[in-house]
């Protein structure tokens, strides 16, 4: 039986916490600010839902995937189960203004709300991209405020609990892969609080998330200039200020990668209904992976209404995406192996899912 005490010892104190926000928003004993989190007071609860739902306690990937994406036919060991992959972008500049790349996520959420599929959305907002906050959006006009990529980890899932307490029945969640896993484990452990049939999960692609050290770095670089936003197109870090854009190498940003990201297996949010990332080979476009029926239900509506347009995904680019995922997965498995040798297991490394990426060739 494990609860808050073990959550602190096994996840927070070890630096594994991804700041998904699932525990913080639900439990009054756990608090977070910026990129720090703590179980402030001992709760004395021996069997805690925080521990059970945390994406960084032991996770049986096969079981979770089976429960939520069990009926999805296509399976790719590197980018997860899916049925379709497209290049996609939003067609309405009103909706996509402020978005990164193709504005696909913003478009999908707007459509979902307009079509009555969701009453609210759990998003992440940031005015200058440097202090992202959880945001529960129930008014379509506010969706745009959450547009744009954030590179600093935010405890967005706090808004999931806010949605529940506000009595919202159906919601959409946009999150990083760790947050998607958090939602799935939560749905498995406390289904009465988060019903999988009434939750639409859009996962983002993610290779790393940054600490608040990055914010301090950006502000230092900007000096007296006001920072408007940050963008990281391939290889480049762009700091957009009121006085022009400062260009740096992306490595400057990556030095602030959180240690928790070094053990993250999931690059493309393999457990989401829909996954969206950049299409780095085509400016202004997204990579759109459709996984579940529910996911297709939304994409279909967005296409039908004309809000979203899609194009065939070039097979060569798909291969590049897979290889990028493979690289990350190999590094992660090495790190997970090292940690396991020190006595901590957060996944079952003996499962074929993990063993296979270590082999020379992957289909």
């Amino acid at each position: 039986m494990k609860g808050g005490k073990e959550l602190k010892e096994e996840v927070q104190d070890k630096g594994f916490c991804t700041l998904c926000g699932l525990c913080v928003g639900r439990c009054p004993y756990i608090k977070s600010l910026e990129d720090k989190i703590a179980v402030v007071f001992p709760c004395g609860i021996e069997e805690g839902k925080c521990y059970a739902a945390c994406p960084r306690t032991f996770t049986d990937w096969d079981a979770v995937e089976g429960q939520f994406l069990g009926d999805v036919d296509g399976r790719d060991p590197l980018i997860g189960r899916y049925t379709q992959i497209w290049m996609a972008r939003g067609t309405n500049p009103e909706v996509t203004r402020g978005s990164q790349d193709g504005g696909t996520v913003t478009t999908l959420i707007s459509t979902a709300m307009a079509e009555g599929m969701i009453e609210g959305a759990v998003l992440t907002s940031a005015s200058d991209g440097l202090a992202p906050q959880a945001a529960l959006v129930t008014d379509a006009a506010d969706i745009g405020k959450a547009a744009g990529s954030k590179y600093i980890a935010a405890t967005s899932l706090q808004a999931l609990h806010q949605a529940r307490r506000s009595g919202l029945e159906s919601i959409g969640v946009v999150g990083r892969p760790c947050q998607v896993m958090g939602v799935r484990k939560y749905q498995a452990v406390v289904p009465e609080e988060c019903n999988k049939d009434r939750t639409l999960v859009i996962g983002l692609f993610c290779m790393w998330a940054l600490s608040y050290g990055f914010r301090d770095y950006v502000r230092q670089e900007a000096g007296d200039r006001q920072v408007l936003g940050v963008a990281i197109p391939k290889g480049e870090l762009q700091i957009k200020t009121t006085d022009g854009t400062i260009s740096k190498s992306v490595e400057e940003a990556k030095q602030f990668t959180r240690s928790a990201c070094n053990i993250c297996w999931d690059v493309t949010s393999e457990l989401a209904d829909i996954s969206v990332g950049a299409a780095e080979f085509a400016e202004g476009w997204n990579t759109l992976i459709v996984r579940t029926e529910r996911g297709w239900g939304l994409v279909g509506k967005a296409l039908k209404s004309g809000a979203l347009e899609i194009k065939e995904y070039p097979p060569a680019m798909l291969e590049e995406l897979r290889m990028a995922a493979l690289g990350k997965k190999r590094r992660v498995v090495a790190e997970l192996t090292r940690i396991q040798n020190e006595g901590t297991s957060i996944v079952d490394l003996s499962s074929p899912r993990f063993r296979s990426v270590v082999e020379e060739e992957v289909n």
């Binding site: 009054p28 004993y29 600010l33 720090k36 709760c43 307490r165």
Partner: protein
């Protein structure tokens, strides 16, 4: 409504608090100038002086601290006016630099200084025996043993002071100050106006005057030898002589009576204890060389009488603190006196049985275990919210920040009520002073965030020099100023920040933030009731270098509750999920407000409306949002 202070019918008998009696004594003596800093057990004296100022025409002020208070009072004495200065034992330490010089300078108009000690430290951090200070300062010392004496001695002290041109110390204790008893009132003496000071009128404390101090003391001693405040009751030739002062007289009297040894034991009660009336004491030692000394805290009288006996080459068998007969549970010289302590000591010294009517027997195995009643913040206290926010911020920060504590209601935050947050506790201003030092230790590898706490009244009393020090030496620390707009712990007295004087006049309202900004600190202001914002603010500020000040401003709940109807706070019973919530009763268990209770019958949280002061902070804690507020802006 007639006040016991204003009744002008000499001979009337009333019930008076010791502090009221001291006040009355000074009023009867025609006191003109009164100054003090609030401290328990003496705070009522100046409040009463302020309340009666218009009636009697005298002046009463709360001074910023005790040394300023004694300086101001001495000024009035210098101009020939009768002056009274009041402080608790800690305050006497603060005033010590000046008081030590008073022995040299002497005074003009009668100057009476009241030291109000707190044996057992009921409301203090220590039980320092300030009689020692009187002896160090070479000033006459009086100890009232009854409420009547509290009045009569104070009244007489002004006369003694003028007669000998030296300030007189009256040392009282909590059990006299805050106790009540019968007092017969006297008449009011006429008052005088200030003298003009000529070129050669000087009040100077320089060492060539030291021999004159001794001459004055010798004169005082002569007067003490025949003082009516020194009394003897008992047989002509006692078997045992109790020498006692102050409250010791009450307890000795009762002990002798209860042990039924009135025919064998005499009680020499001294009211004038320093300089010791040696001839008087010697005359009793000659009658009975077997002595039991009964006094509060230090063996002050005991040691002085021992010295006298040695000087007079008398062989006296002493019992008391040195012999271990008069002792509290912590040993001799600790804790306050009470009838049981003295009965136990007397019974042991005389070898007589010690009667007791106590017949309640508690079986530790079977009988109820009584839960202790920890001191905690009042319901609605902004400090509870501040400590909660600070605890959250420091835990989230994760670097084990340390908080240097200070003196006030928030001192209680060092205990359970404040999550044991304080790492240090000393005296007024000790918090910021220590933080100033701790904030310089990074060079030695100390990387824990440093915080200090102080209240608004403490700020003016003692924090200014330390804050200058921190800024001047560029210490890295966060100073939390808990501004509840009152000197709360001692009874809600005004201070420079409240914009009001003791006598109810509008004073210049000092801006704490203005002063801190002028010192160049990075100053922020917040509302402790907004726990989330305060947590975030504290967290952010401890990341930054230099001296930061966060003023957490919210009126004391008790003061606010007197101003008007309080907001209603209640738990929506349908929304509260009880133990099914899974929060482990977070509202009552973690926040610890006495109004936030668990209704065992209903199985849900409840707000006790009799205790609740309507701050509404608990509403932000409930994960279900079950706690509602009405009527709060």
């Amino acid at each position: 409504m007639q006040s016991v202070l204003t009744i002008n019918q000499p001979g009337t008998q009333v019930l008076m608090m010791g502090n009221e009696a001291i006040t009355r004594g000074a009023l009867e003596a025609g006191v003109q100038f009164c100054s003090s800093y609030p401290g328990s057990p003496s705070a009522e004296i100046l409040s009463l002086m302020a309340a009666t100022a218009k009636t009697f025409g005298h002046y009463a002020e709360w001074s910023t601290n005790e040394i300023v208070a004694i300086e101001a009072a001495t000024a009035a004495s210098f101009a020939g006016l009768r002056s009274l200065c009041i402080m608790k034992q800690n305050g006497a330490n603060v005033a010590a630099d000046f008081i030590m010089s008073l022995g040299l300078s002497g005074c003009r108009g009668g100057l009476v200084v009241v030291f109000a000690d707190d044996p057992e430290s009921h409301s203090s951090t220590n039980e320092f025996d300030s009689r020692n200070l009187a002896r160090w300062a070479e000033l006459p010392l009086l100890e009232p043993g009854t409420f009547q004496e509290a009045k009569d001695m104070t009244r007489w002290a002004f006369e003694l002071s003028e007669q000998t041109q030296t300030p007189v110390i009256i040392r009282s204790v909590t059990r006299i100050c805050h106790g009540r008893g019968n007092v017969v009132l006297g008449d009011f003496l006429p008052k005088k106006q200030a003298n003009k000071l000529g070129q050669w009128d000087k009040l100077i404390a320089l060492n060539p005057l030291h021999p004159f101090t001794h001459q004055k003391l010798a004169r005082v001693r002569e007067i003490f030898e025949t003082s009516p405040f020194n009394t003897y009751t008992g047989p002509e030739s006692p078997e045992l002589l109790i020498i006692t002062s102050g409250t010791g007289s009450f307890y000795s009297q009762e002990a002798v009576s209860r042990l039924e040894v009135t025919g064998r034991v005499g009680i020499l009660k001294l009211g004038t204890t320093c300089p010791l009336p040696g001839k008087l004491v010697k005359s009793y030692l000659e009658k009975c060389p077997r002595v039991l000394v009964v006094e509060e805290v230090d063996p002050f009288l005991e040691q002085n009488v021992m010295v006298l006996a040695a000087q007079e080459e008398m062989l006296v068998k002493f019992s008391g603190k040195a012999s271990g007969h008069i002792k509290g549970p912590g040993g001799p010289g600790t804790g306050e006196l009470n009838p049981d302590v003295v009965m136990d000591g007397l019974s042991a010294v005389l070898g007589v049985p010690r009667p007791s009517r106590q017949d309640v027997v508690v079986d530790p195995e079977k009988d109820i275990v009584l839960p202790p009643r920890d001191l905690t913040f009042c319901a609605g206290c902004p400090h509870r919210a501040t400590f909660f926010a600070a605890k959250n911020a420091l835990e989230i920060d994760g670097r084990q920040g340390v908080v240097m504590g200070d003196i006030g209601c928030y001192t209680l935050g060092g205990a359970k009520a404040g999550h044991f947050l304080l790492s240090s506790l000393f005296c007024m201003g000790g918090g910021i002073g220590m933080a100033s030092g701790m904030g310089k230790l990074e060079a030695f590898g100390f990387d824990q965030p440093v915080l200090a706490m102080a209240g608004d009244s403490t700020f003016f009393h003692a924090c200014l020099p330390a804050l200058v020090n921190a800024r001047w030496n560029n210490s890295k620390m966060l100073f939390l100023i808990l501004d509840n707009e009152a000197t709360a712990m001692t009874g809600f007295q005004p201070h420079p920040g409240t914009g009001q004087t003791a006598m109810g006049e509008r004073g210049v309202p000092f801006s704490i933030e203005g002063i801190c900004k002028a010192m160049g600190a990075d100053v922020h202001i917040g509302d402790p009731y907004d726990v989330a914002a305060t947590t975030e603010k504290i967290y952010q500020l401890i990341q930054q270098p230099g001296v930061k000040v966060l003023i957490l401003r919210r009126t004391c709940a008790l003061v606010q509750s007197r101003r008007g109807p309080k907001p209603r706070v209640w738990v929506e019973q349908e929304k509260c999920l009880g133990d099914a919530c899974g929060c482990g009763r977070f509202c009552s268990k973690v926040f610890g407000c006495p109004a936030c209770i668990w209704d065992a019958a209903a199985g849900k949280a409840r707000i006790d409306e009799v205790v609740c002061n309507g701050c509404g902070v608990c509403a932000s804690l409930c994960p279900q949002g079950a706690i509602q507020i009405e009527g709060r802006d």
